[in-house]
């Protein structure tokens, strides 16, 4: 038998760490909500597919410094272009983004002028008109809405009340924290990022289901023990399992980030963050919420009992 080192003796007090975790999660969610508000106000970096504009993938068979190219663009009157260098086996490859459509020929002409004597090949062009961007925004909004509805309905059917609420909070926590991460990392908010968010919303429940199923099983077996202990024991018991399932998903994502195309780089990066957050939340957020819930219920029951005892006798 082989197990990860140090995991044999598993009696970490996850429940005891819940206030620290709640504080940390509070910060994550605050950043995420701030990012959502900023995007709502139009101050976020929306992807070109959502707002319309131009993305060009250009190969130059000679190396020209990025500074010279940027200066050339300013002189040429397209100073607002975002210019980024991307990996290429030969020569130089640039990704040029403009939040305005209809200028692909100007960009090409300008580059030919800047890179004197080099062959400028336009490898890819993506030009999105405002109407198409609006349509895509609409599609994304519908996708998010449906995901929220279906996942909520699923949780509602799958879990009893308190587990359902905790699972829903944990999932929302993961997605909001992930939006915050994308915002802080200054990532363009594209349809592919929305796809990553939805994928995480679906996948983040995996770990939560695993933890909750164990808590329910242990509740039946050891119903006489304190709720805290049952939750703690459950998390510890399935610790390696939630860790391993997350790790096996992280491995291909890391490979996509390192070896994949620039198109899927941000997607993989945001999803990696999401899965790390999701694993954290299934240990430190979802289950401790149950504990808090149970405490409140007990306190309320005690208060009720006390209140009924204190009632004046007639």
């Amino acid at each position: 038998m082989f197990e990860l080192m140090g995991w044999k003796k598993r009696d970490w007090n996850f429940v005891g760490m819940r206030y620290g975790a709640f504080a940390f999660s509070g910060v994550l969610i605050a950043i995420g909500l701030y990012a959502i508000v900023m995007m709502g106000l139009g101050k976020g970096k929306m992807g070109i597919d959502f707002v319309g504009g131009l993305t060009m993938n250009v190969a130059i068979d000679k190396v020209v410094s990025l500074d010279d190219i940027r200066k050339g663009f300013v002189v040429g009157g397209i100073g607002e272009a975002e210019i980024q260098q991307i990996q290429s086996a030969t020569g130089q490859r640039l990704l040029i983004k403009l939040r305005k459509s209809g200028q692909d020929k100007d960009v090409q002409a300008l580059l030919t002028k800047i890179a004197v004597g080099a062959v400028v090949t336009v490898e890819g062009v993506q030009e999105v008109g405002p109407a198409v961007g609006e349509k895509l925004r609409e599609q994304a909004a519908w996708a998010v809405l449906w995901a929220i509805i279906l996942i909520t309905v699923y949780i509602w059917f799958r879990f009893e009340y308190r587990f359902g609420i905790a699972a829903a909070i944990a999932t929302a926590h993961d997605v909001i924290a992930m939006i915050g991460f994308a915002y802080v990392m200054d990532k363009d908010f594209t349809m592919l990022i929305v796809t990553a968010l939805l994928t995480l919303a679906g996948y983040s429940l995996t770990d939560t289901v695993v933890v909750f199923d164990r808590i329910r099983e242990n509740l039946r077996l050891m119903h006489k023990q304190p709720f805290n202990d049952i939750v703690n024991k459950s998390i510890n018991e399935i610790l390696s399992r939630t860790f391993v399932t997350s790790l096996t998903v992280l491995l291909p994502l890391i490979a996509i980030m390192i070896y994949g195309s620039h198109v899927t780089y941000d997607f993989a990066m945001v999803l990696i963050a999401g899965i790390v957050i999701g694993t954290y939340s299934s240990w430190f957020v979802a289950s401790p919420i149950l504990v808090e819930w149970e405490h409140r219920k007990r306190l309320a029951a005690v208060a009720m009992a006390a209140a009924s005892q204190n009632q004046p006798k007639r």
């Binding site: 038998m1 082989f2 990860l4 993938n57 086996a89 692909d104 090949t121 336009v122 490898e123 890819g124 062009v125 993506q126 030009e127 008109g129 109407a131 198409v132 895509l136 599609q139 994304a140 519908w142 449906w146 995901a147 279906l150 996942i151 699923y154 799958r158 349809m191 592919l192 796809t195 939805l198 994928t199 679906g202 996948y203 429940l205 995996t206 289901v209 695993v210 199923d213 099983e217 018991e237 390696s240 399992r241 391993v244 399932t245 096996t248 998903v249 992280l250 491995l251 291909p252 994502l253 490979a255 996509i256 390192i258 070896y259 994949g260 195309s261 198109v263 899927t264 997607f267 993989a268």
Partner: protein
């Protein structure tokens, strides 16, 4: 599970694997690649509905436009073009592997509305003010000022459309008097008769040949022209003349169209994306397999075999469904390889746990499957749900991701439950089980 049942499952599995293997060979012919991988162009055109001729519905105009664009695309010679209506007034055109995107754009985007109109006998000077702008009051409702193809030239035309390109039977490139390229056209019989009457009625007047709102030439009608043939001059290059002849043959669009979305992927960019995508997927899957073999030993290797079969089935399903593989789709395959082992991880961990608590191998395996099964299935339902949402609401590359995510996860449930189970049933006999 009795032994006979197990044998049947293994036999069916072997047969399915064989079928899957055969059905995806050769792979490059059986898997549809998206435009982002094979290179090509996608355009979304918007029919300018405010410029529709009276009495035409948007629906009719779109259908007619699609038909004409199809004719034009066929004339360029693109293998497997996809042209379809999207929403109310949009047309999506996919041209895989196209060599010269700009030429295709010029051809497809051109309205090619050919009109014959009379030049007014009035002088242009009579209707413009001192800045050269036409004065609406002086023009009245019958006259219009139209730009000529030569920069700066303008003509005063009578608005009445005498004939259109709809009367043309064919058009081709020929050589003018000076050896320059011109486009000659031949009208239909009916069109020829109308043209003869038109020219007979207006001898000594100037007849303007207007293409897409520009006057190309305005020759004087010397006498009645029978036979219904003529030429369009306009200082063309040979390429321009050929394109014009082509679009005139294919017919005019019912209304102008505007390109609202354009995606061009060059062949080398597509190949680069395939290479990088494959490299990432192969490395990712290898990492997962190495980890499984290292962490779970023999059971991990069994999970890896199941993973390989899973992968094979996924490719087979993609080819059966004629699904399109895109770059995010490749990422989706890599991702599902990581998710696919989840089921096995949950079951193996459960078996380990049962063994640790002193159960026999046989009981541990049975318990492992029966107790972990619900969790395995349930934990994947929401991923399937989100994949389905992305499939129905996403487009292009995203749809490609949704397809691979959905089937990858779906198959992983099948492999975790059926394949590894069958193998474990065989291993029950062994006493020293390494998990």
């Amino acid at each position: 599970m009795i032994a006979r049942y197990r044998d049947i499952i293994l036999a069916v599995l072997a047969a399915l694997t064989l079928i899957a293997g055969v059905s995806i060979y050769p792979l490059n012919k059986k898997i549809n690649l998206g435009l982002d991988l094979q290179g090509g162009m996608q355009l979304v055109l918007e029919v300018e509905t405010d410029k529709l001729p009276k009495g035409t519905t948007v629906q009719d105009a779109c259908e007619r436009a699609i038909e004409i664009i199809r004719n034009r695309v066929d004339a360029i010679g693109v293998a497997e073009p996809l042209i379809q209506k999207q929403g109310e007034s949009w047309i999506t055109i996919q041209l895989p592997g196209i060599k010269d995107p700009q030429k295709a754009i010029d051809l497809i985007g051109q309205t090619a509305l050919l009109e014959f109109k009379l030049v007014s006998p009035k002088a242009l000077d009579e209707v413009i003010d001192k800045d050269g702008n036409p004065v609406a009051k002086k023009l009245g409702k019958d006259l219009e000022v139209v730009a000529g193809k030569d920069i700066g030239s303008r003509y005063l035309l009578e608005k009445l459309q005498l004939m259109t390109g709809a009367s043309l039977a064919t058009a081709s490139v020929s050589t003018g008097e000076m050896g320059e390229p011109v486009v000659s056209f031949q009208m239909t019989n009916e069109g020829g008769r109308a043209f003869a009457k038109l020219t007979g009625d207006h001898v000594n007047r100037q007849l303007a040949i207007v293409l897409d709102g520009k006057v190309y030439s305005a020759p004087v009608i010397r006498s009645r022209i029978g036979g219904g043939s003529g030429i369009i001059e306009g200082r063309f290059s040979w390429d321009e003349a050929r394109n014009l002849a082509l679009v005139l043959r294919a017919g005019a669009l019912p209304a102008p169209v505007r390109i609202i979305n354009k995606e061009v992927v060059g062949p080398s960019l597509g190949k680069d994306s395939i290479d990088r995508g494959l490299k990432a997927a192969v490395f990712g899957t290898m990492l997962v397999m190495l980890f499984m073999a290292f962490y779970y030993r023999v059971s991990g290797v069994i999970a890896n075999v199941a993973l390989a079969i899973n992968f094979l089935f996924l490719l087979a399903i993609l080819s059966w469904l004629k699904a399109t593989l895109t770059l995010p789709g490749i990422a989706g395959i890599a991702l599902t390889m990581g998710m696919a082992v989840d089921g096995n991880v949950l079951i193996l961990e459960r078996i380990r746990e049962e063994l640790r608590s002193g159960k026999t191998v046989r009981v541990a395996i049975d318990n492992g499957y029966s107790r972990a099964l619900a969790t395995v299935v349930d934990s994947h339902v929401t991923t399937l749900l989100t994949a389905a949402i992305l499939f129905f609401l996403g487009s292009g590359p995203i749809k490609g991701f949704a397809v691979t995510l959905f089937w990858g996860v779906f198959l992983s449930l099948f492999t975790a439950i059926v394949i590894t189970r069958a193998v474990f049933e065989m291993r029950k006999q062994h006493v020293g089980l390494s998990i």
